[in-house]
């Protein structure tokens, strides 16, 4: 019995420093809520549902345990927690080194585990702060993984909880061993004001933070290995949604499809909202209503066109891919990296081309065809398959349908060249380029004549291409409901000379064929435009309606450059322009301003938007300094006793007597005093000291007291001021 009693007392030994124990329940409650929210957010995007459930239960139990056992040493629990943390570390290292699990997922799982363990040992106030810090790290993990705006709601709630917790923490810390005056409930007003300040200042701070891009990490984002299709893959296209069997064709383009299946545009019309530009033979008479569904999110530093398929041959009124199978590329077994270097290729190598490597990560939100979308010119690919196929046009396909949740990264070399320099590129180029890009065999004579007529007088490649683009923009209308060409008719001829309206495929086809007729190599590309940029998440959101067709033109020495002849597209060669929140705001709100003072401000903003990151950093620092300076200036003016606020008559009289006396006595005004001295402590001659002190005290009451002075006080002040003034005059 005594042994049991001894064990019981040992297990319940008191905490050594009881003065450090925190007893405040709301503080613990807010911390617990913040931790729970962070666990949910972190687990949401990592798929750690089981660890989340265990973690929530453990954290809740731990907080209850910590609260009710806070006055005990709980040495036995600390030993168990230490063992648990060692085990967690061991498991973490093992998973990082010997498994293929995503490192972020492993790290998040370990942090959930540690947070659950730590929640059982929270006797002191600072332990709750450590818990909040861990929760903050989990929220950051959730933010890194989140690609949508709903994370903002969780972040806002977390911020409110953290502010409440920190405000209570500060209150408890500063009111310790102090005489407390006031109601603690007014802390809610402090939190509310701070939340408003955060909300108001955020739109100013957020765009000003410079966006540097270093990519110093070794591994770029890529999802788990895709299960490759069972049949022999030789570069054929595969689709997640086979066309409807009701159309009558048995062999569709599903995962088991073979190249060469009978496929027509009608299948797409009946099949729904699939883009007809992602088939081996592009028929300009195909029609489809593309949906606005979100297809993928792209993390990219710039607005780039995402290439899908490249058609280089126009034959029998269809665009085709001459190298339909392509070349198989493999990678090292343990690494998802494909090096796409093509030896001997000198594209973008010239010194006058500002080529740079840009990183683009694709997060698929829906099942997509087995096409790898990437900007031209792809250099390295991080993809979760064993091998890929790449054709002569550097378009890539994989041996598996891309399922929702697939993540891959493409590193491309993107050019930047001054158009005037480009204009100096020599012409003609065709004899040096593959003949298929210059073929005009399936063009009507009228089309060839039109091409020569449009480009007559143009001496450079760029001039010819710009002339064709201008001609198309000025003479043709963009119409999504343009009727198809009659059966058997040349669709491009019909567009150029009969209907004179069409959509992106028509404009691109017309430009490609007219350029060829003018002797400029070209090819047709289908893919996606950059999509809508979300300044908060930093992702481009690509939807079904962003499917597009454009043209690539070959420039000798330089290489292939992108042109978009659709009337809504950019003029001239399309280069990747860096997009930041600031440039996004400019394009949306300031670009349209054409005149006046606002135009000057817009130009300034534009300069900042496109400036290098260090200029943005300098501007942001300057803006912060200006705001801080304005704030201090305003607060200093308000704290100065200027008497501008309304005072009762007697108070006003006393204040004016005092200030008038002060003005007449510069030696008082400028008397040496310590930095924080009040008027009552200023030096004054001994014989006048009492009068001065009395007058200064009356002034303080007149200006700062909520109560009005009476007539006697006003008369006393007048008398004192007169006495002091007379004494000064005698001296």
């Amino acid at each position: 019995m005594s042994a049991a009693r001894g064990v019981f007392s040992a297990l319940n030994s008191p905490y050594r420093r009881p003065e450090e124990v925190e007893h405040n329940v709301p503080l613990r409650a807010f911390t617990w809520l913040a931790v729970v929210l962070s666990l949910c957010v972190a687990a949401r995007d990592t798929g750690l549902m089981s660890p989340l459930a265990l973690g929530l239960s453990a954290v809740s139990a731990g907080y209850v345990f910590s609260h009710f056992r806070r006055m005990y040493s709980n040495w036995w629990m600390k030993i168990a927690l230490a063992a648990g943390m060692v085990a967690a570390g061991f498991i973490y290292v093992n998973q990082m080194l010997f498994t293929q699990r995503d490192h972020i997922v492993v790290l998040t799982e370990m942090m959930i585990f540690l947070q659950a363990l730590h929640s059982f040992d929270l006797p002191r106030r600072k332990d709750l702060i450590y818990s909040l810090l861990s929760a903050f790290m989990l929220m950051c993990v959730g933010g890194v993984l989140s690609r949508s705006l709903d994370f903002g709601i969780y972040l806002a709630v977390f911020i409110l909880l953290a502010l409440a917790m920190l405000a209570i923490f500060h209150y408890r810390e500063t009111s310790e061993r102090a005489l407390i005056i006031g109601n603690p409930r007014s802390i809610a007003a402090v939190v509310a004001r701070l939340a408003i300040a955060l909300a108001v200042c955020f739109p100013l701070f957020f765009p000003l933070i410079p966006r540097y891009r270093t990519y110093a990490f070794a591994n770029l984002p890529v999802s788990g290995r895709l299960r490759e299709a069972a049949q022999k893959f030789s570069g054929q296209l595969m689709y997640p949604d086979p066309p409807s069997a009701a159309v009558g064709i048995d062999a569709g383009f599903g995962p088991d499809a073979q190249v060469g299946s009978d496929f027509s545009a009608e299948r797409y019309l009946a099949g729904g909202d699939a883009y007809f530009g992602f088939v081996p033979e592009l028929d300009l008479n195909s029609r489809a209503r593309l949906s606005d569904k979100l297809l993928m999110r792209v993390k990219s530093p710039s607005a780039v066109y995402h290439r899908g398929l490249v058609f280089d041959t126009f034959k029998n009124n269809l665009w085709m891919i001459s190298d339909a199978e392509g070349e198989q590329l493999t990678r090292k077994e343990a690494s998802p990296v494909f090096r796409l270097d093509r030896s001997g290729d000198t594209e973008y190598q010239s010194a006058f081309i500002g080529a740079s490597l840009t990183y683009h990560t694709y997060y698929l939100e829906r099942d997509m065809p087995n096409i790898i979308y990437a900007p031209y010119r792809p250099d390295t690919l991080y993809f979760p398959v064993g091998f890929i196929f790449m054709d002569d046009n550097l378009a890539m396909r994989v041996p598996a349908v891309l399922l929702e949740g697939t993540i891959y990264t493409a590193i491309s070399t993107t050019p930047s060249i001054d158009p005037e320099t480009l204009r100096k590129v020599a012409f003609p180029p065709c004899p040096d380029v593959d003949e298929k890009y210059c073929s005009i065999g399936f063009m009507t004579p009228k089309m060839r004549a039109l091409a020569l007529e449009i480009t007559a007088g143009s001496t450079s490649v760029l001039d010819k291409v710009e002339a064709i683009a201008a001609y198309l923009e000025n003479n043709y209308e963009y119409d999504i409901d343009a009727p198809p060409a009659p059966p058997g008719a040349h669709p491009v001829h019909h567009f150029l000379f009969e209907s004179k309206r069409g959509y992106c495929e028509h404009f691109a086809s017309a430009m490609a064929l007219l350029a060829r007729a003018a002797g400029v190599p070209s090819r047709l590309v289908t893919g996606f435009v950059p999509g809508a940029y979300n300044p908060l998440t930093g992702y481009f959101e690509v939807r079904g309606t962003d499917a597009h067709a454009w043209v690539e033109i070959y420039f000798p020495i330089v290489g292939w450059l992108t042109f978009d002849p659709t009337p809504s597209g950019p003029s001239g060669p399309v280069f990747a322009e860096e997009v930041t929140p600031m440039s996004f705001l400019y394009d949306r709100y300031f670009k349209g301003i054409a005149e006046g003072a606002l135009a000057g401000a817009a130009r300034l903003f534009y300069s900042a938007a496109i400036a290098p990151a260090w200029i943005s950093a300098a501007l942001s620092a300057l803006a912060v300094a200006l705001c801080a300076g304005a704030f201090f200036l305003i607060s200093a003016r308000r704290s100065r006793r200027s008497g501008r606020f309304p005072l009762p008559p007697n108070n006003r009289s006393v204040a004016s007597d005092y200030l008038r006396l002060l003005r007449a006595r510069p030696e008082l005004r400028n008397a040496p005093r310590s930095a924080s001295a009040t008027d009552l402590s200023v030096f004054i001659a001994p014989d006048a000291r009492d009068s001065w002190l009395e007058l200064a005290a009356l002034y303080n009451r007149a200006v700062f007291s909520p109560l009005p002075l009476d007539d006697r006080d006003a008369a006393t002040a007048r008398s004192l001021a007169a006495t002091l003034k007379a004494r000064a005059q005698r001296m």
Binding site: C140, G143, V144, G152, L155, I159, L166, A167, H170, Y171, T174, S175, R177, A178, L179, I180, I181, G182, N183, P184, S186, I187, A189, R193, A197, L198, C201, F202, F205, F206, I209, R211, T214, Y215, A216, K299, Y359, N534, P535, L536, T537, G538, P581, V624, F631, F632, S635, R638, S639, R641, S674, A675, S676, A677, T678, D679, L680, S681, F704, P706
Partner: protein, 348 residues
Amino acid sequence: MTGCPRLVRGENVIERLAAFGRLIFLALWAGLLFLIATNIQSGWLYVVISFMLILAAVSVAAPKSALRAVSLEAALPDLCERGSPATAVLTIRNNSRFSRHMLRIESLSCPGIRFEPDRVFIVSLPARSSLTVSARFVPESRGRLKMERAAVSCGAPLGIFTARREFPLRAVSLAHPRVDRAEGEALAEYGGRADPRANPARFELRDSYNYRLREYVPGDSLRQIHWKLTARAGEPIVKQNDGAAVEHAGIFIDNDAANYPPGSGERFERLLEQAASLAHHLVFARGAGVSITASAAPGITVDSPDSWERALRWLALIELQSGNYPLQPPGPDADFTFSPLERTEASG
């Protein structure tokens, strides 16, 4: 006219850095997140960094702005008793158009004045208002007490950065020795030491003091025994105050520093306490006039309770005197002598 608040406390570099500790911690976290964001290009991390920067800016600006608009005054009671709690009045004013939160008045204690507690925490101070706080303090030393300065700190809203501002104060007080009525009565009644455990208040009772003699009866206190007469008579003779009114009594205090061993300042204070207690009893309970003299200070006479405060002030200000100060021995009218020296033959 208001001065700039000092941002940090501490005189050396380490202390100053420590005051910025939390702000540095916040900045390091923001820097780390920025480093991560430049690598992985996460838009939400930039959002978090923005909030952290705003929080840092508000945490520095808000306390500084709050203290600019604040003023502090203090008032102590004119006279207080050493060792006994008294009340100081602190008036803090908010001259701003905005309310101020979580202000802390600290460093109230100063030499000779111990505040309990040493700080006052004000949750909220409305705009353009003043707040009067009664703070309890205990004078730990006798004599002139002065609150020279106090500090107001503010770390609102979250305590990430705390600004501090010192205010010079002109609060003065005079602390007199502790007056113990019971001790005074005992001293006056029995002519002996009221508390044998205290420093000996050696005093003599002049024979002309009104009392009567009688034989010892069991139960009488030894302090009542008149030893001289006992020696003469051969049997215990007890002196008993017959309660007759005493018109005037003299109290002598030895404040010659030469008579006090080094480090025995507390002994002198104890003597003063006993003298004060005795004088209080004589003035208030017996209705007598009291003359208080000292060996090295001018004396004071208290004719009635109305002038008792003068005596307290005198007792508050008397100090041990050393050096070339004219000394005067106890006069013939010193009924009570308080001195650290051994008891001398009673006069008369």
